[in-house]
C-alpha cells in the first residue's frame, strides 16, 4: 500500500498526476516538487493570449492556492538535486530530503540554446516559462522589429502575436518549410502563405550566424547569406531537450528522454516518468517522445491509475493544437511516415482538413479552422476505424458524417 508519493516537476504532467491520484482515491502523502516560483500553471497561453495581455496571471494557474491545501498536496519549492534510489529519497537543494514509496519524474524539457555569438545580448529570448513570457511581453510594448529564429509552433505563435501588434517580423528557419517536424507538406505550405499574407517575412533554408548589439543590447541579426536584419527583439524557438539530468545521474536508462515501458515505468520499479521528459514505446516498436499537453495529461492519468491498482498500457491518441493569429490548427494522430494525403474543404477559405494515410490507413488529420473534422478524427483514430484514401477522395465526403455512420 503506497503511503508516500513524490512527484518531481510541477508542470502539466506533475500537476495532473497529483490531481488524478486524489481523484482515484489515493489517500497517502503527495509531495509535488517544482523549480519555478509560481503555483503550477499552464504554458500554452504564454505564446498566445497571455503575451497580448488577454490572460491574467491567475488565469494561467491550473488551480488556485487553496486547491493544494484542500487536496493535501504538499507543494515544495525545489529544485530536487538528486535521486537517492538506494534509500528511496529525493534530495533537495537545501540539503533536506523527502522519502518516497514511489517516485514520478515529470521534469519536462528546456529550450535548446541558440548557439551563435551575441545570444547573450539583452533582447534575445527563449520562450518557455512565465518568467520568459513576462520579459518578452514587456519588450513587445516598445519593439519595432523582431527576428524569430525557428518556424516551429512557438516561433510562429509568437510571430503572429508580434505581427498583430504592428511589429515587423522576420522568421529564419533552417528547414525548407514551417513546422516541418510535425506537419504534412500541404499544411506547412498553407501556413507559410498565410503568415506571409499577414506581412510576416519567412526565410527558409536560412541559418542565423550571429547577433549584433550595441551597449549590450541587440541591434540586428546576420544570416548565413550575409544579409543583416535590423532587430530590437529576437525570440528563438529551436526545439527543446528533455530534462534527464536527475534520472541520468541516478543511473536510470536514457534514450532521447527517460526511458519507460508501455506502462510508463522506468527500469526502477519504484520510479515512473511522464510527459516531455519521457521516451516510450510506440505501436510500431519505435521510441517516441511527445511534447504536448495531451501527452502529459494522459500519461499522468495512466500512472495514477496504475498506482491505485488498475494498470493499463498507455495508448492514448495524440492530439495537439496551435493558435497562430486567426488560424487554428488542430492535429489528431501523428503524421510521421504518411504516404498519401486527401484534402477536405477549401484552402482558399482557410477552413480545410488534410487527412494523412499510411498504407491506406488514416494515421492523422490536420484540421485548419475545422474543429468538427478534428474531433471526428480523434474518435476514429481511437476506435482504429479508417476510411480509405479512395473513399475520402469521393466528392462530398464528410468526415464527421463518416464517424457518425461508423458508430
Amino acid at each position: 500500500m503506497l503511503k508516500d508519493i513524490i512527484i518531481v516537476g510541477a508542470g502539466q504532467g506533475g500537476f495532473q498526476v497529483a490531481h488524478s491520484l486524489r481523484d482515484e482515491g489515493y489517500v497517502g502523502r503527495i509531495t509535488l516538487i517544482g523549480d519555478e516560483d509560481s503555483l503550477p500553471y499552464q504554458r500554452p497561453p504564454l505564446s498566445k493570449t497571455y503575451m497580448l495581455g488577454k490572460t491574467t496571471d491567475d488565469a494561467l494557474l491550473f488551480r488556485p492556492a487553496r486547491f493544494y491545501a484542500d487536496h493535501k498536496i504538499d507543494l515544495v519549492r525545489g529544485p530536487a538535486t538528486a535521486i537517492d534510489r538506494t534509500n528511496c529519497r529525493i534530495v533537495l537543494a537545501d540539503g533536506g530530503a523527502v522519502s518516497y514509496d514511489h517516485l514520478i519524474l515529470a521534469t519536462g524539457a528546456h529550450n535548446r540554446a541558440l548557439p551563435v555569438p551575441g545570444a547573450d545580448l539583452n533582447g534575445v529570448f527563449g520562450l518557455r516559462t512565465l518568467f520568459d513570457a513576462d520579459v518578452i511581453a514587456a519588450k513587445l510594448k516598445t519593439a519595432k522589429s523582431a527576428v524569430v529564429v525557428g518556424a516551429g509552433f512557438i516561433g510562429l505563435e509568437f510571430a503572429a502575436v508580434a505581427r498583430s501588434l504592428g511589429i515587423s517580423v522576420h522568421v529564419l528557419e533552417m528547414a525548407d518549410r514551417p513546422m516541418a517536424r510535425a506537419l504534412s507538406r500541404e499544411t506547412s505550405n498553407f501556413f507559410a502563405e498565410a503568415h506571409r499574407s499577414r506581412g510576416v517575412r519567412l526565410d527558409f533554408r536560412q541559418d542565423l550566424i550571429r547577433i549584433e548589439g550595441s551597449s549590450g543590447k541587440i541591434t540586428g541579426a546576420v544570416k548565413a547569406d550575409g544579409e543583416r536584419i535590423d532587430a530590437d527583439l529576437l525570440v528563438f524557438g529551436i526545439g527543446v531537450l528533455p530534462n534527464i539530468a536527475l534520472a541520468q545521474e541516478a543511473g536510470l536508462d536514457i534514450q532521447n528522454g527517460i526511458k519507460v515501458d508501455a506502462h510508463l515505468l522506468t527500469c526502477d520499479p519504484s520510479i515512473s516518468a511522464i510527459g516531455d521528459c519521457v521516451s516510450f514505446p510506440g505501436a510500431d516498436g519505435e521510441w517516441i517522445r511527445l511534447e504536448s499537453v495531451q501527452n502529459a495529461v494522459d500519461q499522468a492519468k495512466t500512472v495514477a491509475t496504475r498506482l491505485v491498482g488498475r494498470a493499463a498500457p498507455y495508448d492514448a491518441v495524440p492530439w495537439f493544437w496551435t493558435d497562430q493569429g486567426d488560424l487554428k490548427l488542430q492535429i489528431a494522430g501523428m503524421s510521421a511516415g504518411y504516404d498519401s494525403a486527401v484534402t477536405l474543404g477549401k484552402r482558399e477559405e482557410q477552413s480545410f482538413s488534410v487527412l494523412l494515410f499510411r498504407r491506406n490507413h488514416l494515421i492523422a488529420v490536420e484540421a485548419i479552422n475545422r474543429a468538427g473534422d478534428f474531433m471526428a478524427a480523434r474518435k476514429l483514430l481511437g476506435r482504429q476505424i479508417s476510411p480509405s484514401p479512395a473513399e475520402a477522395s469521393q466528392p462530398g465526403f464528410d468526415l464527421r458524417a463518416y464517424e457518425v455512420a461508423m458508430r
Binding site: P44, P45, V293, N369, R370
Partner: protein, 105 residues
C-alpha cells in the same frame, strides 16, 4: 457580476466575478474542479456546461469552432455550451449553469 454554478451533486456554488473573464475561469475561481484540458482554446470539449433555460438566449450564440466541438461533447443537450467561449459581462449578471458530465474531474 454573479455567476451560479450547480455541480454534479446539485450543490450550488455562487461567485462574484470581475469581467473581463470567461465562464470557465469563473468556474475555476469558484473552486470547482472543471477539466478544461486545453485551457480555453475550444479544442477539447471538457469545459462543457448546461446553461439554465432562462439564460440560453441571453448569450451570444456559439461561433463555428464551438458549434463543431459541441457535436462531440459528452451528453450534449440543447442548452450545452463550452464555458471557455462565454465571455462574462454585466448584462448576463446572474448567469446560472450546471456542470456537464465529462467536464468533471
Amino acid at each position: 457580476m454573479k455567476v451560479s454554478i450547480y455541480d454534479e451533486t446539485g450543490e450550488l456554488v455562487q461567485i462574484n466575478e470581475r469581467a473581463p473573464t470567461t465562464l470557465m475561469q469563473a468556474i475555476r475561481d469558484a473552486g470547482l474542479d472543471i477539466v478544461a484540458q486545453c485551457g480555453g482554446s475550444a479544442s477539447c470539449g471538457t469545459c462543457h456546461v448546461y446553461v439554465n433555460d432562462a439564460w440560453c438566449d441571453k448569450l451570444k450564440p456559439p461561433n463555428e469552432s464551438e458549434a463543431a466541438m459541441l457535436d462531440f461533447v459528452e451528453e450534449r443537450r440543447e442548452n450545452s455550451r463550452l464555458s471557455c467561449q462565454i465571455e462574462l459581462s454585466e448584462d448576463i449578471d446572474g448567469l446560472t449553469v450546471t456542470l456537464a458530465p465529462g467536464s468533471l474531474f
